[in-house]
């Protein structure tokens, strides 16, 4: 099976002139009204190019999660079009939805790991489900676990791991088939600041390898210092979309340092109050 659809993507878009590849995410006037009448998204327009690292921020209930769900067709937009790699996924037949999801890695606040499977099996599961061969699984899984720094915990069960480690497993599972797009919905929501920085660094490393990464967070202050593109939602509307360039070539370590500064780690009183303090020592 085609694990990497990335290369064929350009070919799927013959309508676009000058051979330019379509942005990986393109939203045009996307509105989502829930059956109860609550408007979660209100004419959202945005475009995210390939290889970008984007923060999506906003307070709880601003529509961030709704936006993420429309990107993976968990929800369908009430109005407007959601395009992934130039394809309107609102018009995608139900049969094609799994194919879409195979090309989007997802990471959630609550990790969504399977408790009765080892770290290895949890990551391998993503490949088994898409019908990868045994050889592919044997090659990809240890490689990805090395990338996320969990080579030594391959045979542990999720409840034997710290929160940070569990989130790394979930990142490994999202990335194991090298999707062109990775969505992280509050990946550090349950983690202490030091651990979250580790996760962010990991996501950044994945981004540097060519995957577009969208990180959802409710922590505005942290992202202000990141000098990355920040899209802010407020009551279902995009109220800010800043492209802060100039740091695209920085190393993962520099990224981590800036992040540490942004989150005020080390300054008591400024640290975030959420999450349990499970120390996940990073290299």
């Amino acid at each position: 099976m085609a694990l990497r659809k990335k290369k064929d993507r350009g070919g799927e878009e013959p309508r676009r002139p000058r051979g330019r590849r379509a942005p990986i995410i393109e939203l045009n006037d996307v509105t989502k009204v829930y059956p109860g009448g609550h408007m979660a998204l209100d004419r959202v327009n945005l475009s995210i190019g390939r290889g970008e690292f984007v923060f999506l921020v906003g307070p709880t209930g601003c529509g961030k999660s709704t936006l993420i769900k429309t990107l993976i067709r968990e929800l369908t937009a009430t109005e407007g079009s959601v395009k992934i790699a130039g394809r309107d996924i609102g018009k995608l037949p139900e049969k094609k939805i799994p194919q879409l999801r195979r090309n989007i890695g997802t990471v959630f606040q609550d990790f969504k790991l399977l408790p009765d499977r080892t770290v290895y099996d949890n990551v391998a599961y993503a490949l088994q489900v898409i019908g990868a061969s045994r050889a592919e699984i044997r090659e990809q899984v240890p490689q990805t676990l090395r990338l996320v720094g969990l080579s030594t915990k391959i045979h542990s069960y999720p409840d034997e791991l710290s929160g940070g480690e569990q989130q790394r497993v979930s990142v490994a599972r999202a990335f194991v088939n090298h999707p062109p797009l990775l969505l992280a919905d509050e990946p550090s929501g349950n983690l202490d600041p030091v651990t979250s920085i580790g996760i962010m660094q990991l996501l950044y490393r994945i981004n540097k390898a060519g995957t577009t990464v969208v990180v959802v967070t409710h922590d505005r202050e942290m992202v202000d210092n990141m000098r990355r593109r920040v899209i802010e939602l407020y009551e279902g509307r995009v109220v800010r979309d800043e492209v802060s360039g100039g740091y695209t070539e920085e190393s993962t370590t520099e990224f981590g340092l800036r992040m540490r500064a942004g989150m005020g780690v080390g300054h008591e009183g400024e640290t975030q109050t959420n999450g349990h303090s499970d120390h996940d020592h990073l290299s």
């Binding site: 993976i72 139900e94 049969k95 799994p98 194919q99 879409l100 999801r101 195979r102 090309n103 997802t106 969504k112 399977l114 408790p115 599961y125 993503a126 088994q128 489900v129 898409i130 019908g131 061969s133 045994r134 599972r173």
Partner: protein
């Protein structure tokens, strides 16, 4: 190939995890199949017997012992003159006793009778089963309760009446048993469905993850489907084992002495065919049970 192994692993993992409802579903399937396995031969035996009786296209008329030879000869002529009568045979008391002797296993019963209680009789064969009634009507113009055409006829032994009686009994039996079987099939359908539902519930996390990583609809469904089929398979197998034990320990020894049971072996379908039907039925039932539940509770 690896995929099939994966599906089976997932299904068996789920069965182990919710053991109690799985066992309940298996037990219900066993009960249903065992009942079905007993009903089919019973139906067939009853049907076979009543048809066998009806197919003997004759009526017998017993004669009074004091009838003279001349009277018997003239009655024979008279009977032969009735339309649709194909053959009229005189069976003497002695012949009747011989027949009875050959039918009985224990000949001493006949020996102990010091006199012959059987009457002389005429066996009247019709050319067609459908014309038997008109022949009877010709002999008894005023119905079976009225007077016959000859004073020497004591009474008819109407085989049709006895075949009707067999049919009445069997059709009542059939209705009762069919209702019970239908209810049991429904119960096992629902229990298999319930097992699958519980399984979906305990594995909702897995289903969620599967969807997120892009599993197709059928990829998610197969393990549940297999789970249901495994329940049907296990239930069917157990039931057939029980039926087989019942056959060799109870039915087979009895059929040597009881004619009706012996008839089963010749008129009904053989045990292998019955096993095949029951096995197919239990798997079909469990497949439907899990399929319907999946449609309702697993919107993917």
């Amino acid at each position: 190939m690896g995929r099939i192994v994966f599906f089976f692993q997932e299904a068996l993992r789920a069965l182990r995890r919710n053991g109690a409802p799985s066992v309940a579903a298996i037990v219900t399937t066993v009960v249903t199949v065992v009942l079905l396995g007993m009903l089919i031969p019973i139906f067939q035996t009853a049907q076979g017997k009543s048809e066998e009786v009806r197919d003997q296209l004759n009526v017998q008329y017993a004669l009074y012992d004091d009838a003279t030879k001349a009277e018997i000869a003239s009655l024979k002529k008279e009977l032969e003159g009735i339309p649709h009568v194909a053959e009229v045979t005189f069976i003497s008391k002695a012949e009747a006793l011989d027949t009875l002797k050959s039918e009985l296993k224990d000949k001493t019963i006949v020996e102990e009778l010091h006199t012959n209680p059987l009457p002389n009789s005429f066996e009247v064969k019709a050319d067609d089963a459908a014309n038997l009634a008109s022949v009877q009507k010709a002999v008894y113009p005023n119905g079976p309760e009225g007077k016959s055409i000859s004073p020497i006829i004591s009474n008819p032994f109407d085989r049709q009446q006895s075949s009707e009686k067999i049919e009445q009994v069997t059709s009542a039996l059939k209705i009762v048993l069919t209702v019970i079987t239908a209810l049991l099939i429904l119960a096992s359908l629902m229990l298999v469905g319930n097992t699958i539902r519980l399984s979906i519930y305990t594995r909702r996390r897995e289903v969620e993850v599967m969807r997120l990583v892009g599993a197709t609809r059928w990829f998610i469904r197969w393990p549940f489907m297999i789970e249901g089929v495994v329940v049907g398979f296990a239930g069917g197998l157990l039931a057939i084992l029980i039926l087989w034990l019942g056959k060799i320990t109870i039915v087979d020894p009895l059929s040597d002495s009881i004619g009706v049971l012996a008839a089963q072996n010749s008129t009904t379908l053989g045990f292998p065919a019955l096993v095949a039907i029951l096995f197919a039925a239990s798997i079909v039932v469990s497949t439907i049970g899990s399929g319907v539940t999946l449609r309702r509770f697993l919107k993917v």
